[in-house]
């Protein structure tokens, strides 16, 4: 995946030069591939995420999102069955189940003082919070990376590069969150996002790719 992307990026970057250039065998130190090799993992992953986030990741999330209330109820009844029905197939043994959901619900509680701010939302309408939506600036976990089927560990150099990918995705999601100030308790929020559940009973911490106050879907 990365390789394909980098190649695509390389070809694109070379296009303007082609007219005036002859193709030579020696590697050009200024080529896109060479530039990528000189970047830090953070920089390279930031470039990759900037390329895929809007055109690919967000449409993927919107297409793949299941109804949040349905998924939350299913997880409550049994994680593995819910994962099989609504989740992303596990990458390897010991991986958590990842889910992509959309929905709306009322804000029951809120913690916006933490750097890892959250709001607790009731999506089933029973008055109890079902999931927490992460508001950043610190976003925990790797759900955005792992809920996609187009980022595969095998395509990355090692766990560090793969981790930087997750971080770049989280940073991009975090930067896009724009909510009014205040605790928002009692407000209705509408969201699309992903979360991971390692084992039954673990809290749901959703990373939103879209989040707004008001409205019912």
């Amino acid at each position: 995946m990365t390789r394909t992307l980098l190649m695509a990026a390389g070809i694109l970057a070379c296009l303007p030069m082609l007219a005036g250039c002859k193709i030579v065998k020696n590697p050009d130190p200024n080529s896109a591939a060479q530039t990528a090799a000189n970047m830090t993992d953070e920089e390279r992953m930031a470039v990759l995420v900037a390329e895929v986030y809007e055109p690919r990741l967000k449409p993927y999330m919107h297409e793949g999102a299941r109804d949040a209330a349905t998924v939350v109820a299913a997880i409550g009844a049994g994680l593995d069955a819910a994962g099989t029905s609504y989740g992303i197939p596990k990458a390897s043994e010991g991986s958590p189940w990842n889910f992509i959901v959309e929905g709306s619900g009322k804000v029951i509680a809120s913690n916006r003082a933490s750097r890892a701010a959250t709001i607790d939302v009731d999506v089933t309408g029973d008055g109890a919070a079902d999931l927490a939506i992460q508001l950043g600036p610190v976003i925990k976990g790797t759900a955005l990376r792992d809920a996609t089927t187009f980022f595969s560990f095998s395509d990355f150099r090692d766990q560090i590069e793969f981790a930087k990918l997750a971080r770049a995705l989280n940073d991009t999601a975090s930067a896009a969150i724009a909510l009014p100030e205040g605790d928002l308790i009692g407000d209705t929020v509408t969201f699309t996002g992903a979360f991971a559940v390692p084992k039954q009973g673990d809290p749901i911490l959703l990373v939103p790719v879209d989040l707004s106050v008001g409205g019912n879907q």
Binding site: S92, E93, R115, P137, S152, F153, D158, Q159, I160, A163
Partner: protein, 313 residues
């Protein structure tokens, strides 16, 4: 001569649990190569692989490379010469290991890596990688929470030559550095060692009596740091480790060390053997070469379910 003696020593240091081929060849042989069993983590790997291999009807050849790439290379020659059908390996260096695994591959022997990855793809059949970065992030998230997102802290680093020392430190800082009120006042290596961590902690404490927390690259160093803090009457300091050892589990249950991160070493080793078995029988494991296995946070809530690097349901 020298080479031969070292080889024999290596093979017999831990004890040969398998049957030497040539003497008997009733069952196929799987070679299991890990770092020294002095660290219970690596022992758990070796035992996990050995147990599963025997359950599946294999003989085993158990060897340790002591994190020495040259010794590991000799052990590979030994495994190849013994006619092993597969090699289970926790390797002695991401770069240095590639040629040894390639040599085994050229000799028709597939390698199945656990814990740490190597820098080349397509040489080993499986690389079941312990997600140290993710584990470190989990540990750091818990640490930050316990610290109330603010305060001075120290970090104990592992042995510099070990890839995982760097990976864990990066994972810790990936999280902690997003909290501007968390202040790193000391960062020092204690080389994974409990005794070294004790003295390092004493020194850090003298220079920085105001520290509120210590995050450690592994559990043995966390144990050393905790002992030093205890001796100094500083049991208020928050200590978080990494590995999920029984020692730290016990400390957590006594209200000492606050948290650690479990790498599922035992299960990982078993899984590698299962994939080797599948590969020997069918020519394919049916899964990707590189598999990332997540770590699990251990704190007072689940420490009671931890035993020898495995968490029961």
């Amino acid at each position: 001569m020298n080479f031969k003696r070292r080889l024999l020593l290596s093979a017999f240091a831990i004890g040969l649990t398998g049957v030497m081929p040539g003497i008997a060849s009733a069952a196929d042989l799987i070679a299991i190569i890990t770092p020294s069993h002095d660290n219970p983590f690596f022992k758990a790997e070796s035992v996990g692989a050995d147990t599963r291999a025997k359950e599946l009807g294999y003989d085993t050849l158990i060897m340790v490379h002591d994190d020495d790439a040259n010794k590991q290379s000799e052990l590979f020659d030994s495994a190849i010469a013994s006619g092993a059908k597969a090699i289970i390996l926790d390797n002695a260096g991401a770069d240095a290991t590639v040629s040894a695994v390639q040599r085994a591959k050229d000799a028709g022997i597939p390698s199945f890596l656990i814990d740490r990855e190597i820098t080349a793809n397509g040489v080993a059949i499986s690389q079941i990688v312990s997600n140290n970065y993710q584990g470190a992030q989990l540990g750091a998230e818990e640490f930050v929470k316990l610290m109330g997102e603010t305060g001075k802290y120290a970090e104990l680093l592992g042995r510099e030559s070990d890839t995982n020392a760097g990976i864990r430190s990066s994972g810790y800082h990936d999280v902690i550095d997003q909290y501007p009120d968390m202040e790193l006042v000391a960062q020092q290596s204690a080389n994974w060692s409990q005794t070294e961590a004790y003295t390092v902690m004493e020194t850090i404490l003298q220079a920085n009596p105001e520290i509120k927390g210590v995050i450690s690259g592994n559990d043995t160093m966390a144990m050393g740091a905790w002992a030093a803090l205890k001796a100094a009457g500083r049991e208020d300091v928050i200590v978080v480790g990494f590995d999920g050892s029984n020692d730290v589990r016990d400390s957590i249950r006594e209200g000492g060390i606050k948290a650690t991160v479990l790498q599922p070493a035992y299960r990982q080793a078993q899984l590698a053997v299962e994939q080797a078995d599948q590969f020997i029988k069918t020519g394919s494991t049916g899964v990707d070469e590189k598999q990332l296995m997540d770590c699990v946070l251990i704190n007072a809530d689940n420490a009671g379910r931890l035993e020898t690097f495995a968490l029961s349901e």
